[in-house]
C-alpha cells in the first residue's frame, strides 16, 4: 500500500511542479498568453513632411475581418489625425500648418490567418447581372478598362465553352498569373498589361479585374502590405471577386487562387493609392514592420522551443508532432481505461489522427478505411492457405504498399485529394491494423470487428479534434513543461481502479433490479 502512496506523491509532484514553474514564467515575462496564431506584426507608418504652408496627408487604416485582427495603437505625434469611414475603407487624414520636418507616425498590430475558400464548381457563368451596389464593381474605370474591345475579346477567348463560373474564373486567373512578372513601381493599367503580356502586381490585378468585369462578374482590386520582418516602402495590390454571396480573394501575381496567406495586411478596397498628400517640399514614408512572437516567454525558459526553431531552423511541424504524441497517447489510455472504449492498438488512433491533419478529415477517413478494408481482404486467403504468421505480415505489408501506390495513381487523376495522401498514413500501422481487423472478423464476426473499428475511429476523431487545436499546440510549444504534467496524469491513471464507464453498461445485469 505504501507503494501506491509513493506513486501518488510522485504523480502529484509531476503535475504540480511544472504548473508552478509555468506560473513563475508567466509572472516574469512580458508576453501574454495569446494562443491562436503564434505571432503578430506591429506595423508603423512613418512619414516625414517638409511643407511651407498647410498640408494634408491621406492614407488608410486596416479594418478587422475574419482573416485579420487589427488593434490600433494611436501615438503622440504631429497633428491629431481624423479617422473616418468612407465606403468600405477607414481613411486617416493628417493636417498640419507647415514648418520644418514634421514627423507623422501611426501604429497598429495585425494578427492574420491563412484563408482558403471552397468554391462551388456548379454556379452558372451567365447568371443574371447583379443589381444594386454590385454594379459599381462591374463598370469600367480609368485603369480598369473592362469595356475595351481587346479585354472583352481576350476574356471571351479564355472562357470559350465554359458554362460555370468557377472554371471561367480559373481560366482568367491562370492566364494572368501565367504572364511574366516584373518589378516596377510604374502604374500599369489593364490594357497596358494585356498589350505587354507582363506586369507587376498592380497591372496584373487590374487586368484580372477588367477581364472579370467584361464577363459581368463583379470584381475589384484591393490593396495592402505583405508583412515581413523588415522596413519597406512597397505596398501590394491584389483582387477580390464576388462569388456566390461573398468576396473571395485572388492574387494573380503570387498565384493565390481563392486564398490568401495570413501575412497579407489588407488596407483598402478599390483602385486607390495607399498614401496621397497635398503639394509639399519634401515627403518621405516607410512602413516599419516588426514580427513579434505572441507566445514568447524567454525569461526562465529551460527550453525555449520557439527560439530553438528559429535558430536551428527546425520545421515547426516536426516539433508539434513530437509534443502532440504524448498527449495523444494519454488521451487514448483515458478513452480505454476510463471510458472503456476498445481500440485496435494504443498508437494507432494517435498516428492516424495526426495523419488526418495532412489528408483532411473526411477524405482521410475514407482513404484509411478503404486501405485497411482492402488489405484485410487479402488476409482471408492467406489464412485459409495456412501461411505462416511472419510471412503473412510481410505479404500484407506488400498489399498495403501496392494499395497505397494504386491510390496515388488514381488520386493523381482526380482533384478530390492530393495524390500523396496515402503516404501520410503510417504504413506499418496500416499493416498491423489490417491483420488485426481480419483476425477479429474471423474470430468474432464482422459485426464485432466493425464495432471495434467504429470505436477506434471514434477515439481517433476525438483525439484529432483535440490535437488539431492550434491553441493547444502553441501552448505546448511555449510551455513544454506540460509534458511532465502528462507523465503525472499517466501515473495516476495507471493506478486507477474504478469501473470504466462502459462497464456500468456491461455489468448492468449483475445486480438484480
Amino acid at each position: 500500500m505504501t507503494q501506491s502512496k509513493y506513486v501518488r506523491i510522485i504523480a502529484l509532484l509531476l503535475i504540480a511542479l511544472p504548473l508552478v514553474w509555468i506560473g513563475v514564467r508567466i509572472h516574469h515575462n512580458q508576453g501574454y498568453v495569446g494562443l491562436q496564431p503564434d505571432h503578430q506584426y506591429v506595423v508603423t507608418y512613418q512619414m516625414e513632411v517638409v511643407a511651407q504652408g498647410p498640408y494634408k496627408v491621406r492614407s488608410f487604416l486596416p479594418i478587422s475581418s475574419q482573416r485579420q485582427k487589427i488593434q490600433l495603437r494611436p501615438q503622440e505625434g504631429v497633428g491629431l489625425p481624423s479617422i473616418l469611414l468612407e465606403g468600405p475603407n477607414k481613411v486617416i487624414r493628417w493636417q498640419g500648418t507647415g514648418g520644418p520636418t514634421q514627423e507623422i507616425q501611426y501604429q497598429f498590430t495585425h494578427t492574420g490567418q491563412n484563408i482558403q475558400y471552397q468554391l462551388d464548381e456548379r454556379l452558372p457563368l451567365l447568371a443574371t447581372v447583379p443589381q444594386g451596389v454590385l454594379t459599381d464593381y462591374l463598370s469600367p474605370s480609368e485603369f480598369i478598362q473592362s469595356n475595351d474591345p481587346r479585354i472583352r475579346r481576350e476574356a471571351e477567348r479564355l472562357t470559350v465553352g465554359k458554362e460555370y463560373l468557377t472554371p471561367a474564373i480559373r481560366a482568367l486567373f491562370d492566364f494572368v498569373n501565367g504572364m511574366a512578372s516584373i518589378h516596377t513601381s510604374e502604374l500599369t493599367d489593364a490594357v497596358m498589361a494585356l498589350n505587354r503580356l507582363e506586369a507587376s502586381c498592380n497591372g496584373k490585378s487590374r487586368l484580372f479585374v477588367a477581364l472579370c468585369r467584361s464577363l459581368n462578374i463583379p470584381a475589384r482590386v484591393t490593396g495592402g502590405i505583405i508583412l515581413e520582418n523588415i522596413t519597406k516602402k512597397t505596398s501590394h495590390l491584389w483582387t477580390e471577386v464576388y462569388i456566390g454571396d461573398r468576396w473571395v480573394p485572388f492574387d494573380p501575381l503570387n498565384g493565390h487562387f481563392a486564398s490568401l496567406p495570413g501575412h497579407y495586411l489588407q488596407l483598402y478596397i478599390g483602385d486607390e493609392f495607399l498614401i496621397t498628400h497635398s503639394t509639399t517640399q519634401a515627403f518621405d514614408y516607410r512602413y516599419v514592420i516588426e514580427k513579434v512572437r505572441v507566445n514568447d516567454y524567454p525569461v526562465l525558459a529551460a527550453l525555449n522551443i520557439w527560439a530553438l526553431m528559429d535558430d536551428a531552423n527546425i520545421p515547426d511541424n516536426l516539433i508539434r508532432v513530437l509534443l502532440l504524441l504524448p498527449i495523444g497517447a494519454f488521451l487514448v489510455s483515458l478513452f480505454k481505461n476510463v471510458i472503456g472504449l476498445k481500440t485496435y492498438g494504443i498508437f494507432l488512433p494517435v498516428l492516424i489522427s495526426l495523419a488526418l491533419t495532412e489528408t483532411g478529415l473526411a477524405p482521410g477517413l475514407i482513404l484509411f478505411t478503404s486501405i485497411v478494408g482492402l488489405v484485410a481482404l487479402v488476409n482471408v486467403p492467406l489464412d485459409r492457405w495456412g501461411i505462416q504468421y511472419n510471412s503473412k505480415i510481410a505479404l500484407l505489408l506488400i498489399a498495403v504498399v501496392v494499395v497505397a501506390l494504386g491510390l496515388m495513381k488514381v488520386l493523381h487523376t482526380t482533384n478530390w485529394l492530393h495524390a500523396s495522401a496515402p503516404l501520410f498514413f503510417p504504413i506499418i500501422i496500416l499493416t498491423m491494423i489490417s491483420e488485426k481487423l481480419a483476425k477479429k472478423i474471423e474470430e468474432e464476426g464482422i459485426r464485432k470487428a466493425s464495432e471495434l473499428y467504429g470505436s477506434t475511429m471514434l477515439v481517433t476523431l476525438a483525439i484529432h479534434f483535440i490535437l488539431s487545436s492550434v491553441s493547444i499546440q502553441n501552448f505546448l510549444l511555449t510551455f513544454p513543461e506540460v509534458i511532465f504534467c502528462l507523465a503525472g496524469l499517466n501515473l495516476m491513471l495507471g493506478k486507477w481502479i474504478g469501473l470504466r464507464v462502459m462497464e456500468y453498461r456491461r455489468f448492468y445485469k449483475v445486480i438484480n433490479a
Binding site: N337, G340, G386, Q388, Y389, N390, E443, E444, K448, K495, W496, I497, G498, L499, R500, E503, Y504, R506, F507, Y508, K509, V510, I511, N512, A513
Partner: protein, 295 residues
C-alpha cells in the same frame, strides 16, 4: 424496495459489487501473478507437466511432438487409440484443436473422414506455429475426455467446461460454460455460448446468461438448468484448490471437466480469467473478495 432502482444508486451498487477490468489488473493480476509465471498457464505443455508431477487429475498425455521428424514415429504409437485430441501447446481460443475418432482404421474429425496425410500436415502446421502467432510450438496429443452425462442432459453437442476462479487458493466464483447452436460447439461467452452461474455452497446451477438475458432452460434443448445439481461438485472445487496450490499464480481461473468414467479433471489454467463470470452469477467479484477479506 422500489421495483426500478434509480440510475445513480444502481451505479453506486455496481461500483461496490462489480470487479472491473482496471481493478482486476491492478489489484489482482499484477500483484499476485508474477509475469515470469504466466508461461505455466499460457503453455499447456508446461501446465500439464506440473499437473502430472503433482498428481492433479487431468487428461492422460499420449504424446508430445516437438520436431517434424518425430511426427511419423509418434503417430505409429498413437494409432492404437480409438479417440484422441491434438492441441497446440501455446494456442489460444481453441484454435488448432483437432478431435480424432477411429473406426476400423479410418480416422474421422468432426464427423468427416480425414487422411493420415491431413493429420500429419495439421501436426506440422502446429509445430510451425500457425496457431500460436508464428512462434514454433509443440503439439500435445491427449486422451479424449468423454463428457459426463450431466453435460449431455443439458445440451449434447460440443465441449462444455467448468471455470472456477480462485485467489490465494480460495475459490471465489464458479461458472459452467455451455455451447449453444449459435456458438457452434464452442463454450466461449463472446462466441455465443452460455455462462451458467454456480451456487458454490449448494453445488447447483443458477441461471444461464447468453449475453443478453438470463434463462432458466437451455435455449436449444429446452433442458432445465436452474437448480440442477452438479455431480462431483466438491471434488471439482477440491481439484481447483489443489491446482491453485501447485501453480505459482495466486489469482487464476481453473477450467475443469467431468469425464464419464474418470470423474473431474483439470483441462487448463488461466492467468487472466474474464470478468463475464459475474454476469453469469449475477453477483460481483468485488463483493465476494471483500466478504472473504481478500481485497
Amino acid at each position: 424496495m422500489p421495483k426500478q432502482m434509480p440510475v445513480l444508486s444502481k451505479m453506486r451498487a455496481l461500483r461496490q459489487a462489480v470487479l472491473g477490468m482496471n481493478q482486476r489488473n491492478l489489484s489482482l493480476i499484477y500483484p499476485h501473478n508474477p509475469r515470469t509465471s504466466y508461461r505455466y498457464a499460457d503453455d499447456k505443455y508446461l501446465a500439464k507437466k506440473i499437473m502430472e508431477a503433482e498428481g492433479i487429475a487431468c487428461p492422460r498425455t499420449y504424446a508430445v511432438i516437438e520436431r517434424i521428424g518425430d511426427i511419423e514415429e509418434a503417430w505409429n504409437t498413437l494409432k492404437v487409440w480409438d479417440r484422441l485430441v491434438i492441441k497446440p501447446a501455446r494456442g489460444s481460443g481453441g484454435k488448432g484443436i483437432l478431435i480424432l475418432r477411429q473406426q476400423q482404421g479410418q480416422w474421422f474429425a468432426s464427423g468427416q473422414p480425414i487422411s493420415e496425410y491431413q493429420i500429419f500436415s495439421h501436426l506440422a502446421n502446429t509445430l510451425f506455429g500457425i496457431y500460436s502467432f508464428g512462434d514454433a510450438d509443440v503439439a500435445l496429443v491427449e486422451e479424449f475426455v468423454e463428457p459426463h452425462s450431466f453435460f449431455h442432459e443439458i445440451y449434447p453437442v460440443g465441449v462444455p467446461d467448468f471455470r472456477i476462479i480462485l485467489l490465494k487458493e480460495v475459490p471465489l466464483m464458479g461458472m459452467l460454460r455451455m455451447p449453444t447452436a449459435q456458438s457452434g460447439g464452442k463454450a466461449n461467452l463472446h462466441q455465443g455460448g452460455l455462462g451458467i452461474g454456480v451456487d458454490m455452497e449448494a453445488g447447483t446451477l443458477k441461471l444461464a446468461y447468453n449475453g443478453k438475458q438470463h434463462l432458466e432452460v437451455h435455449p436449444d434443448s429446452g433442458a432445465a438448468i436452474l437448480d440442477k445439481e452438479i455431480p462431483y461438485w466438491e471434488e471439482l472445487v477440491a481439484l481447483s484448490v489443489q491446482t491453485a496450490q501447485h501453480f505459482p499464480l495466486d489469482y487464476l481461473g481453473v477450467d475443469l471437466v467431468i469425464d464419464a468414467r474418470q470423474g473431474p479433471m483439470v483441462m487448463e489454467v488461466n492467468v487472466r480469467p474474464g470478468l463475464g463470470i459475474q454476469l453469469a452469477n449475477q453477483q460481483g467479484l468485488k463483493e465476494i473478495l471483500q466478504q472473504k477479506n481478500l481485497l
